[in-house]
Symmetry: C2
Subunit: 171 residues, 2 copies
DNA sequence: TTAATTAGTGATTGATTAATCACTAATTAA
DNA sequence: TTAATTAGTGATTAATCAATCACTAATTAA
């Protein structure tokens, strides 16, 4: 009963995992749900990922990669910070799953996942810091910290549906 | 075999729950672990809390209460923001469990827990906003947003042990 | 054409754990 | 002193789910 329709099975599963994990969190996501979304049987997941944890790490890494990719831009020094904020806002709309997964990864205590989170955050921080420094932004490190803080509050605000956390409670 | 030593059983359990949840997260915490820490048997937990979820909500509410309490201060308008930042830093050292639980609550998808998180965050935001407004801080709403953002990044930085997120990567 | 490989599945298992049940011992009240 | 209540436990259960196993059908290579 092999249906040779799709050839990117591993990628299908990764993408399905990204979606389901982002929606339900790590622990409430079953491998059966991911399989269903990917259009395969539950055991077949394990042909590509040894464990659920490994699959989550792969999805989390992909999410961080996509966030990093979005920041690969050229901008005039004077526009840099504003451009990056704009990019992040757009990303929040266009790739909500990647953003949600980032947040979910933060409070998963499993070691491998914690490490992926650390690596992902560190790479975003480093990338941003380099950009800020190249643009000769004064007090770059503090500015990066503020940038990250606002970004994460933005994620939270979307994820738990509390817009007043960032829009000042207006309208 | 009733041992009438302790009379604050419910409180013991709540406190034990706060600790274990903060350490292991919601899903990796078993009611057996909490019972062990509280010095009682696992089934006895359910005499005080109908479900594990109800217990978590109680612990989360307590955590938010304590955070709010800490902000109940009098300060000269010109010192307000700095005082509040200092208080928050101290709280992070003195009550790490409350801070951790706040973060953990953010990515638990269960409805009742999500609602407690929203209530807790809203009350912190409102309290802070009132203080800032009373002190006639210009742009109070934006300042509150920044204050919250920095606070949460601070929590994350402690929780996942990545000091460079807030201290600028120095030392 | 047939052997080997690849793609895939249904059924099962073993571990975990929230929650319940059926109790017992101690304490308090009458 | 005894009846009722309170405090507590050990054993069990029912559900969930990651992971494995034992397969089958299709595809490719010889």
């Amino acid at each position: 009963m092999a249906r040779p329709k799709k050839e990117n099975r591993k990628d299908d599963i990764l993408e399905a995992g990204l979606e389901v994990f982002a929606d339900k969190g790590y622990y409430n996501t079953t491998t059966a749900l991911i399989a269903e979304k990917a259009g395969i049987s539950q055991p077949y997941v394990f042909k590509f990922f040894k464990t659920k944890e490994e699959l989550f790490v792969a999805a989390l890494d992909r999410a961080y990669e996509r966030i990093l990719q979005a920041f690969e831009i050229e901008a005039e020094p004077e526009d840099l910070v504003n451009d990056m904020i704009k990019i992040y806002e757009e990303l929040t709309e266009s790739n909500p799953n990647e953003i949600a997964l980032q947040l979910i990864g933060l409070s998963v205590t499993e070691d491998a996942i914690r490490n992926s989170t650390r690596l992902g955050l560190a790479s975003i921080r480093n990338h941003t810091l380099e950009k800020f420094q190249s643009a000769e932004i004064p007090n770059a490190e503090e500015q990066v910290s503020t940038f990250l803080a606002r970004g994460i509050l933005c994620n939270i605000s979307h994820f738990i549906n509390m817009p007043e956390l960032i829009d000042g409670g207006g309208r």
